[in-house]
Each structure stands twice: as structure tokens, then as C-alpha cells.
Symmetry: D2
Subunit: 318 residues, 4 copies
């Protein structure tokens, strides 16, 4: 029975059932990305029929949703040279060549992103049971840095447009997506979800905030996965889950005095690769049009050494 | 005849022959990426036979080659929370959840990257003949920002391992790769290069500096494309060119008092997508092993609004 | 007569009367800081009777008022090493020494600051009539960078606590401080304002937002100097003006469709050094206690080469 | 006897003799800045006779000495708006007003700076005996952050131009300044050093690297205080020590396998405020001219909350 007052107990229970610690040996740094094998990538590539691509990334710029919580600002893109300088400023270079340079300052969790395995801990333990203080120091994640995911994150993607199937296109804030919702959506789409798949769940919240303004998109109420989908996340042996929301789980969380309890199970225990703030709208539109909800998905993080997350521009190809 | 003293004349001559201005209409923002069509992507996907992936990205960290030229520092990866804090610091969150966050500060040209169309100008003109000062202001590239390349940069990749075919694995610094070298390499590989292909040229310089230390990898002498490959770059109608060097052209440049003259033709006039500092070594090893030098290449930039370049983790799938 | 619909006309009229262009020769880079002479500094030093100091700076941290307008975020202070690492992490250094390092990322206009002479232009003209595009490029202010003010900004400071004298401690938002208010306040304080003085005007807005929350402190309605104090600012030959508000002039501005019209006269034409977001509360309390409203003020900017502004920790000594 | 092989022993011995732990109570956050009292500030102000000022700060820009060690890059000053935009770009504002904004990214130890009390630890202990891991977390220095020094750092400054008195203007790299050198220099200058004074030691290294290039100014060999000046630093009860070098102590250090052993005594045990990379040349020239080596020194750090160091523009007034 759901006891709103005892998140710690519910987490412990889920951990007992769904932990993948040791599943890929004591030295593992990939978690559920281990489920993506070569066959899965061949299967993904075989899904390319039209040759159309979709970027599942929001834009990285100052107009994003961040409000500064825990130093999470929107990206600052600063120019270090411009066309104005090239045309009107002093010449820096010979024979008429001119150039522009730029830089970016951004939290790695500011927009469309993957959470690395070092992003969340449970009672001081990181993925595979390692002591969090030995894993993530001020020099970064010494063990499971996102650079380990540089190559493998490519395979079969599956879109579950729960917003469209269960809602009227958009789920309301606070809506908890259950295992039944996920299953029903897959059935409606005629798609199966299994080992090694990279699952994208569209709630429609991004569609809504685009229309109505960011509001509290970054950390406020949102539709998202119920805490009790932990079993499904574990049992299906999917490689990753990504949503169009700030955190992939429902907010407010389903417990009193809680903070992202599903993260606490999914990342350090299941070893699940979690994507957030993905833009699934154009892809969803296309899937609704042709009825095909699986595709090749290539979503390689930037290999920032020791990072506990990474911005990503996931590419779906159908 | 090659006149070392007249880069401006040679550039003008090349521009007269190889300009693509207007080829895709006055409003074009894609340049040669237009050559990547759906058929090319289907062709690319069909090249996936084994399901193996290669990240063609160097790591992004403080140990990179940059020395501060034009504010190009190596990336600074700063932690905003760590496992040390989670275990030993004051608790920020309930029920035993802990987390780590991080941020990055980096020039967009610091490591493995794409040059955007707004990165280089010729006599004050940007791609498609637009006035550079109307295109790239301090607010960024208002017209051809890298965000326009968020979705399409996926298709058939071709590796030309010139270092292996022409050199003994590595070309020396200052070696100018000619059209003949490119053609001979393709012939040796048994691969054809044509419209819409994304060509990766391995010189071996990265292999060498990895062994011997960065030295002046960032801007010093390097093997690279001869200025006179401009015709080949144009005629083959390739979508992009990328190398394992800081700039894709030979350094020192083939003219006195010159700075990156091939850039001045390739980017603003041909509209070519140029990649730099790619790591082609693992891919090259595999290609040498199985004799197949083409593959699916997905190399989507981060859609940083108005950026004139972007870090990228290009994924080759064979 | 005040015509709300014609800011451009009012500005032109003020400029015609109050311009200091050429006053200190064609090469001047100091503006009204020229008024601070050695005698003024001796006068300032002679005001030190008790030996007590006041920092007139707000704190620089993530809890500041900024909301991201024009990339003006609050400072991000990131640790590059901590005591947690020193105690629990791997040892980096011998014989038991440990250390912590840190960095900051901040807009130079984020908190307590000086506006440099290159911060504001009038119809494309910067201080002393120079073309703004020749002065401030992407490489910074090539002529009047804040580094020129590294040494001289020290002298006699005068506090005008208008909030206390005219208001009941705090002026309401939108309150326009007139020349009469300034004069009356000085008279009430028994202090004279003259050539070379550094004038600090306390409105009390900072006191209020500290109590009630930042709200729109950064750019919203605020008490401040009336546009029509331009004559007083010019005639008194003060070296600088600073307030406890985001911009030193009243907001909403006194014209329709206007943006900081007094800045447009004060900075590029009068050459006035303008300070914003100063914290005058503790100093004001002390002045009210002993009835002495002048003091030694040392307010040297950080000499950031080419900067158009600088954070500053102004020190008042009485 | 000096035993090069036992820095840890020498440090322990110095600590036993010179510790100030508890001297100002268990809650102290100021260390030797406690020695600056109101009388000391009155004394400092009385030293202002000419009214001339000297900035003791190097410039903050990309041309500094840093090479990236421990992410210590030179400052990056990026423009967020320029005069080029104001003149040639799209208008952002009404009635002819234009503006330029900028930002800075810098390690707080990059150039002229104060070390905060949380910058250095001895065997896991910070100033006053506090556990370093409870003091400096990823959220910054929770106890002795540099913001506590916002107001008090103003008083009597004393220049000891050891480079001029002991050397021929410049001490060679590796020269260890002893207590005798300091005493002899003070005698030659006719100046006394005592409780609460802020002592500036000029070695001349900065003069040399300005002439010859930075070389390894940031961390390489340098003249500086001998480890054995710890007793003098303690006994004189000075408030602070600052030099024109990267670290204030001699390098190479006087022990094998050592790293900044004097720091390990001076900061966490003596509680001494340490300044580095100060530019003392112009001041030294003036002092040599008039024979007066003491002055008012105002050297307030930027109150960056929780910082373990701060850039500073120290102002000397004579």
C-alpha cells in the first residue's frame, strides 16, 4: 500500500527488488547501457526507412527555463569575435579573411541532457554500490564519468506518446504515469518495448509551456513517471528513459517531504540512463502520421571527462 | 602557377570558380548540408552491418591542447555538488537522496567541433553573400546559427586514411594533402566519394601528439588539405569534411603572410561544413581491419542558438 | 516644460547644456574623475577621525537580484577544490598541506559596480565624442577601459540620505529625486557638495527589498534621480554618483517609451562615473548617529582590461 | 638545523611555536586582520600627505601568467554588447541610447589577490583548528569566506623593497628572503614594522618577467620568503603580507618533495592574510624618491560569499 509519509521505506523496498548492483561485474561503468548490444543497433538501423531525421533537443540559449536553483542558470553564449568586428573593427588577419568565435557557459543539467551515473546517490552510495565520496569529488566523477558513454548510446528508440494516448495531447501537471499507462500506450501504438530499447515518453508538458510560458517548468509541478514504475523500468531491461520534462518523474512527488524518489532507485540502483527536457514533439507528430513508433536513436553525450551529466542532441532517424 | 606571395589573388580565383552562393536560394542556411538527402541517410543506415559504434570525439577536459589564443582555453569542468558533499557535508535533501551537479565553460572551438557557416568571412561577406556584420553580431549568428544544423547532419560517412595510405601511418607536419592524395587514398580503400558524403580525413597528427605531447597542436604546424583541394571539395559535392587536426588545412599555409586561406574559400563560398580535432584513430583501425571505409555517421551539433560552431561527439556506426 | 513624449528632445537639450566633451583634452579617458585631485584626497584622508570602515558592497553570490536580462545572471561561484577533498579525497600534495581553489563567473554589471565610460552611448557616440564602434569592440573598450580608473578613485565621499530626509527612511518606487531634494538633504545633513566629491545617494530601496524580497530590483520600478538633475550633476562638478538602486535614475523613467535617459546624458556627455547597487545602509546609520556625512571613500574598480564596468567593494572610512 | 628531507617535521615545529588558534576566540573568522584596529586606520590615514594614489594591482586579462594548472586560466573577459552593435547592429533601445555590457570568468587566484583563510589547510585543519571538511564544501567556505573581510582591510601599509635593498633591484629566482633581510630592509628604509601593519614585500620578480616574459611566473622558481620567516610573521603581529610573486614564499621550496610549506603554517595556523601577485613597482619608485615607505593601504576584497580568495585592487595613498 502506498504510504505517503514513508518515502524512505518505499525506496528501500524498491531497491531490494530492483537493484542491478553487480549485474555487470564490480567494475561496471555503463549500467543499463550494457543492454544495448550490436544486434540492437542493427535493429535500430533497420528501422531507417524514409531517411528523415529529428533533433530531440531543445535549443541551448538564454531563453531557457532555468531560474538559478543550485546555480542552474540558462546557458550563456558569449561571442569572442563577430562579423561586426570583421567588417568595422581593426583587422586581425591578412588577405581579407575574417572570423567569429564564441564560447558557452552552462550547467550540464540546464537543458536537453543525460544524467550520468554519478548524478544521484542513495544513502551515500553511487551506482554499483560504490561509496559516493570515492566516486564524485571536486575533480569530477572519477569512475563513471559521462565520457564512458561516448560511443555506445545508439540503438532502437521507442516513443511512448502517453500525452496523446492517455491525455488529450498533454497530461496535466501532477499526473503520475503508471505502468498501465505505459503498457496501454505501447499497445495503442502497436509497438513493443524490450531489452536494450531507449524509451522516450512524451507527456506534452513541453508543448504546453511553449504555448503558455515556462512558468515553473524547471522544478515545479509536472506530469511524469510514477514512483511505482520502478519495476517496469527494471523488468523491461530498457537501456534508457527520457521525457519532455525537467525530471522524468511526476511532481509533486507522490510522498510528503520527498525529492525525486524514483531517481534514487533508477540511477544508483537500476543503473538506468535517464534523459530529461527532450523535445519529442516533432517526432511524435511524425509517428502519429505514419503509425511507426520505433526508430534509430543516436544520442551520444559530449565526452566531458568526469561529468555527471551532459547536454545532448539526440537524433532520431526513421 | 602557385604564387606564394599572393594569397588574396589565389583566393579570388578559387572563389570565382567554386562559389555556391545562391545555389540553394537566397535564404539558405545549410550550405552543403543540403546535399544530405533522405536517400543518403538510407544509404548510410544500410551500411550498419555489425552494429559497432565509434565515438569520433576527443575528450573535453582541462588536459586539451588549447593555450589561450583568442581566449581559446581548454574546457573548465566545475562541480556544483559532489559525492563528498553528499556523504560528509550538510544534507540538502530528504530520505537519503544525494546528488552531484556540474557545469562547463568552454570555447565552442576548443575541441572536437563543427565550424558553423558564420565562423569565417571573406572580405566582410558571410555564406551566400550576406554582409558579415548583419549576420554575426554580439547576440550571435542571427541567420546561420548552428541550431539550423540540429537535425540534418546524419548520413553516409567515408574515411580517407591518408596518413596510412600516403604516409607510414602519420603524415608529417606541414604536409599538404592534394587532390591526388585524396583520390589515391579512396582508390586504395576501394571507396567512392560523392554527393552528400561526410568525409573524414585522417592525417595521423593526433596519433602523434597523443604519443609525444600536444606541443603546438592548437595552431602550429600540421598536415592538412592543400589550398588547391578547393576544387575537389566543390566538385565532389560532399556535405562535410573533417580532420584530426586543429584546422583542416595544412599549416604553415602555402602562402606567405597567410592565415587559413582554404577556410576563406570553403566556408563562406562553398558553404562547406568543416569539422576539426576529430579523433579518427579507433575507427581507422577498424576500417583497416575489415576493409570497409564507409559507415553511418551521425554528427549533430548541440543546437546552441546563434553559435558559430559547436562541440560535437560524432558517432560512426558500422 | 516636461514633455513625456519627447525624450530625444529633452536629451538633446540637456546635452547641449551639460556636455563636457573636450574639457580635459581630446585624449581624455577619465571624465569627471579628473575632478579628484590630490587636495581632494588629502581632504578625504583628513575626514578619518574614528578609524571605522564600512564596506558599501552587496555580497556577490547566487542569491542576488539578477534574472537573466541580457545575460545578466547572478554570480556563479564554483569551487575547484574543497576541504572535503582535502580530508576525504585523494591527496594531491605532500606533507599534509591541503588547499581549496575557486572561480567566479559574473556579468560585470551584476551587483555593486561602477559603470565605465564605455558602458553607454548617445546616438553612436561614446565619451568625449568618440565613435562608439571604434571604442568598444568585441575585444573590449579599446580607449576608456575601466583599467584607467585603477588608481585615482579615492577621495572625499558624501552621503546624501534622501530616503531618510525626504522619505520616512525609504523612498517609494517611482519617486523622482530632484535637485531640490538633493539640496534639501545636504542642508539637513549640514554637508556641502562640490568639485571632486564622490556622492552616494541612499534611496532606501535596498533596505526595502532586503526586507520584502528582491522582486524587480533588477530593472523594475525604483526611486532614483530625476532626469532633470543632469544640470546639478554637471554644475556641482562631482566626480561620481552612486545609489543603492539597480540604475541610479528613477524608474519608470519620466518619459514614455524611454530607457534610462539620464544615463545617456551623464555617461557619454558629462563623463560622470556612475555607481549602482551600492549598499549604503550601515554607513547611513553611522552618519545619522554622529551627524557627519562626509568621509574618505576608496572605491577602486578591478582593473579588468577593456571592461565597460567593474564590480567594486567601496570602502568608506570615518 | 635545517633538514631538507623533513618538511613535515619543520612545519610541525613551526606550528607548535607560532599558532594563533584560539587567540581571538573560538568563533574567529578574521585571523590577523584582528590586529587592524581603529587606531591603526587613523595612523594610516595620517600618512596621506601628498594625496597621490597607487594601484597595486596587475591588470586582469587574457595576457596574464596562468597556464591552466588546476584550472587556473587567465581571466576571460567577454563582451555581451559592444559599440559595434550599437552603431551597426539592430537597435535594442529607444531615443538613440546604446550600451555595452560584459562579463568575466576567472579563477579567484588568477592575478592580484588575497588568499582567504579557507584557502590552505594543515593535515585537514583549517584556521582556528576547524575541520577543513566542515569549513569548505562545494558550496564554498561556510565559516571563513572572504566576505568577512569586506570592511576591515584598511590601515597602515609598509613597503619593504627587498629587491632594491638586498638585490640590485631584483632578487634572483630561488632567493630565500630571511628575517635578517627583512629587518635590514626596514632599517635601510627607516621604517618600523609592527602590530596591525600590512606589509608589502617587493622582490622585483614582476619587474623582471614584465621585461623578459612571463615564463613560469605562475608556479615556477621565484624569490620569496624563507620558510624560517614564520617566526617573524608571527612575532611582528602584522596583519598581512603581500608580494609581487605567484606565491609569497621562495620557490623551489627549501625542502625536498615539498609544496608551499610556509603557507601551511601562515594561513591555517597564524591566520595570516596573504597577498600574491601584487604590483609594487610604481609605489616602490615613489617611496625611493621621497624616502617614505609607509602609507594608507586600502585593500578590500570583493565580498564573494564563501570564497577562499579574491581578486583585489589594493590602493596605496601617500
Amino acid at each position: 500500500m502506498h504510504d505517503r509519509t514513508n518515502p524512505e521505506g518505499a525506496i528501500a523496498e524498491a531497491v531490494a527488488k530492483y537493484s542491478n548492483w553487480g549485474r555487470w561485474g564490480p567494475d561496471d561503468v555503463l549500467g543499463t547501457v550494457n543492454f544495448i548490444d550490436e544486434g540492437k543497433r542493427r535493429q535500430g538501423a533497420a528501422l531507417v526507412r524514409d531517411g528523415v531525421t529529428f533533433s530531440l533537443s531543445q535549443r541551448f540559449d538564454a531563453n531557457g527555463p532555468q531560474k538559478g536553483w543550485r546555480n542552474r542558470n540558462n546557458p550563456v553564449h558569449a561571442m569572442l569575435g563577430t562579423g561586426l568586428d570583421a567588417v568595422h573593427g581593426p583587422a586581425h588577419f591578412p588577405h581579407g579573411i575574417g572570423g567569429a568565435d564564441d564560447m558557452i557557459i552552462m550547467p550540464l543539467q540546464c537543458s536537453t541532457q543525460w544524467d550520468g551515473l554519478g548524478h544521484i546517490f542513495d544513502h551515500g552510495k553511487a551506482w554499483n554500490g560504490r561509496p559516493a565520496d570515492k566516486v564524485v569529488t571536486t575533480d569530477g566523477d572519477q569512475v563513471t564519468g559521462i565520457e564512458h558513454l561516448a560511443a555506445p548510446v545508439a540503438g532502437r528508440g521507442v516513443l511512448l506518446d502517453v500525452g496523446r494516448v492517455i491525455g488529450d495531447g498533454e497530461l496535466p501537471d501532477g499526473f503520475a504515469i503508471t505502468e498501465e499507462h505505459l503498457t496501454e500506450t505501447a499497445r495503442a501504438h502497436g509497438v513493443e518495448v524490450g531489452r536494450g530499447d531507449m524509451v522516450c515518453v512524451r507527456t506534452g508538458q513541453l508543448t504546453r509551456v511553449r504555448r503558455e510560458g515556462w512558468g515553473d517548468y524547471a522544478g515545479g509541478p509536472a506530469p511524469g513517471l510514477s514512483f511505482y514504475t520502478a519495476g517496469w523500468l527494471h523488468r523491461t531491461e530498457i537501456a534508457s528513459i527520457a521525457t519532455d520534462t525537467w525530471g522524468f518523474e511526476v511532481r509533486p512527488n507522490e510522498f510528503d517531504d520527498a525529492f525525486q524518489p524514483l531517481h534514487q532507485v533508477a540511477i544508483p540502483h537500476i543503473g538506468l540512463l535517464v534523459g530529461e527536457m527532450w523535445d519529442l514533439d516533432a517526432l511524435a507528430e511524425h509517428c502519429a502520421g505514419d503509425g511507426r513508433y520505433d526508430f534509430l536513436l543516436v544520442a551520444a553525450p559530449l565526452p566531458i571527462t568526469g561529468a555527471v551529466g551532459s547536454p545532448v542532441n539526440p537524433i532520431a532517424i526513421k
